[in-house]
């Protein structure tokens, strides 16, 4: 969020909040962000959010993990240190599968979580000023972009959201 200028619209329920999101989307105002205490069903669609590509990152990490796991074992037992165990061939594929599987899962899991943290800029911070101190409790907040003109945005929001109950424009 580079642009610091915004108007905070606070709701006490997700239903009016969703209505407001629809209304603001239809108007010429733009929404910077919506902050909610829990994932509101249908919000990503209302905001026309693009689906995250984290699954792709996961697939790539998993593929790397799986290939690495298998090839590593194969290399050890055919090239680096071939040894007969229990009469099995050097390249005993079935017994490489468990470790390959575990490494695939491990790489994918670590990969998607890292992707989540990096993309969302989750960094341990010492200071944190919440935009509204009840966002993680029971308030739903829409941040409307007010870079152009704060006063006109505010007044147009007021008329736009007139029909919705329990709105608080800060």
């Amino acid at each position: 969020m580079k642009n610091k200028k915004y108007i905070t619209v606070v709701f006490d329920d997700e239903v009016p909040m969703l209505q407001a999101v629809h209304k603001i989307q239809e108007s010429d105002q733009s929404i910077q962000d919506v902050l909610t205490p829990f994932p509101v069903h249908g919000l990503d669609k209302a905001l026309k959010m693009k689906r995250t590509r984290i699954p792709v990152a996961g697939f790539i990490c998993g593929a790397i993990g799986g290939l690495f796991g298998f090839l590593f074992q194969a290399w050890i037992f055919t090239v680096d240190y071939p040894l007969v165990f229990g009469g099995k061939p050097y390249l005993s594929v079935p017994s490489f599968i468990p470790v390959t599987f575990e490494l695939t899962v491990l790489f994918t899991a670590v990969g998607v979580v890292s992707a989540l943290f990096i993309r969302s800029r989750f960094i341990p911070r010492k200071k944190f000023e919440p935009i509204h101190d009840r966002i993680t409790d029971d308030r739903f907040v829409i941040l409307v972009d007010a870079a152009e003109n704060e006063e006109s945005t505010r007044s147009s929001l007021q008329s736009l959201l007139a029909g919705i109950s329990n709105v608080e424009i800060v």
């Binding site: 205490p37 994932p39 990503d44 959010m49 996961g58 470790v99 491990l106 944190f128 009840r134």
Partner: protein, 459 residues
């Protein structure tokens, strides 16, 4: 989402979002009661005793255990398998039930996942102690070393190393990712300056942005989709420690799925034990309702019956196989010197869960609580039966032996119980025991306040 009118509400007492936050945070923010101090001092003493026994074992060697040449695996491996199994219910609840869209899981998943992590820690202790020289425990990992050796990737014990360390890592990050939004809530609610700073750091600056929620949901689903096969693989690989050998009674192909079912069975028993106490002690009866207990009991019937079927399959096939060693092992289990362990296992695991077909019993908390402990004991004996009775009668009669645990082994087991409960007691003070955000997200559809509406949702 629309709900059928015949569904029972999952969260009682007309809660608002604010109520949810406050009810769940209350046990964290208030001073702990006498019960908590009593509990943690009991479990803490058990933990201390266990710690002394660990030092004792390492100082004097594995000779202090009751193992002998025939029975090289005793309590240690029994406890290991038992603990790993208990951990499985947490992952089952958080991953598989999420994929199956079981909304009732939201009230119990957090503590069940915590339970998973503590149980896996307890489990991991046993192989490490059993090494005798735990300081050389890193030998089990493949790393380039001056001896030019690698670990044996053909060995199920090495698979175990990978399975359990992966399982632990993935469970931990899954749990933590789920915790982040709730830590944000704690951060915003807690009064103490010092604690606020700590929770702030732990919350990774969570602010509840829609974009973050979207990613969070996707990542949770992916982690669930990974954890589901992972949980199957872990206990399967544990079962392969036995099944890939050719010891009669161990070498049987049903072991992987049967161990998984048994793990979830015992894990749910432990979840029930914990949840029935927790809901009472922390006054969370509105969130963990009798309905939740009933749902868990249904899973106990299902997994218990699968375990029962596996026992019967093993019995039948051992006869059908025509292998005299298999005949002997199964007969010896039921009628040999360890017959009592076998019959405890049979009664506790196969017969007792069948009582839950009766609705009166599965909605009775006292009965369920007692039964959950019976099942925990039964599943411990299952592992004991598998480990000890298969070993104690070797092919050569000259090697026949009996196994009796020493006080050191008993102490180690008590110690892990102490570790488990101590960790759980600390957990309920430090983190919210119920996933606040997840409960809020099902409050509208499954709470009491909002009767189900029959109207089409906006798309």
């Amino acid at each position: 989402m629309l709900q059928s009118p015949i569904r029972v509400p999952l969260i009682k007492g007309n809660k608002t979002y604010k109520d949810v936050t406050e009810d769940i945070l209350r046990p964290m923010i208030n001073r702990p009661g006498k019960v908590w101090y009593l509990g943690i001092s009991l479990s803490g003493s058990a933990l201390l005793f266990g710690a002394v026994m660990i030092v004792w074992t390492i100082w004097h060697g594995i000779g202090t255990w009751g193992l002998n040449r025939t029975i090289g695996w005793g309590w240690g491996i029994t406890n290991f398998v038992w603990w790993i199994g208990i951990g499985h219910a947490g992952t089952f609840i958080s991953a598989i039930l999420l994929l199956f869209r079981q909304k009732w899981r939201t009230s119990i998943n957090r503590s069940a996942e915590a339970m998973t992590i503590f149980a896996v820690i307890c489990a991991m202790l046993f192989p490490i102690i059993h090494m005798g020289r735990p300081l050389l425990g890193f030998f089990i990992f493949p790393y380039p070393n001056f001896r030019g050796l690698w670990v044996n990737f053909n060995s199920p014990l090495v698979w175990d190393v990978f399975a359990i360390s992966t399982y632990f890592t993935v469970s931990l990050i899954f749990w933590y990712v789920g915790l982040i939004p709730d830590i944000g809530t704690v951060r915003d609610k807690i009064k103490s300056r010092f604690k606020k700073t700590i929770y702030n750091v732990l919350s990774f600056g969570w602010k509840g942005s829609a974009r973050h929620w979207h990613r969070h949901e996707v990542v949770t689903l992916i982690l669930a989709a990974l954890a589901a096969p992972l949980v199957l693989s872990v206990h399967s690989i544990v079962s392969m420690d036995f099944a890939s050998s050719i010891v009669p009674g161990w070498h049987t192909t049903i072991f992987p799925p049967y161990f998984v079912a048994g793990a979830i069975f015992s894990g749910f028993a432990m979840v029930l034990t914990l949840m029935i106490i927790t809901r009472k002690a922390l006054h969370l009866e509105d969130y963990i309702t009798v309905g939740h207990v009933e749902s868990m009991n249904k899973i106990i019937i299902a997994t218990g019956s699968i375990v029962g079927l596996a026992y019967l399959t093993e019995l039948f096939i051992s006869w059908y196989s025509g292998v005299e060693y298999e005949h002997f092992v199964l007969l010896n289990r039921a009628t040999g010197p360890y017959w009592w362990a076998y019959w405890i296992m049979m009664t506790a695991n196969v017969i007792s869960p069948q009582l839950l077909w009766i609705k009166k019993l599965r909605t009775n908390l006292v009965f369920t609580f007692c039964l959950s402990i019976v099942i925990n004991i039964g599943m411990w004996f299952e592992r004991f039966v598998i480990v000890v009775t298969s070993l104690h009668r070797d092919y050569l009669t000259s090697s026949w032996a009996m196994y009796k645990p020493t006080i050191v082994e008993v102490g180690l087991f008590l110690g892990t119980l102490g570790l488990f409960f101590t960790a759980f007691f600390l957990f309920i003070r430090v983190f919210p025991v119920i996933a606040i955000a997840e409960v809020k997200s099902v409050l509208k559809s499954s709470g009491e306040k909002n009767p189900p509406k029959v109207e089409k949702n906006e798309k």
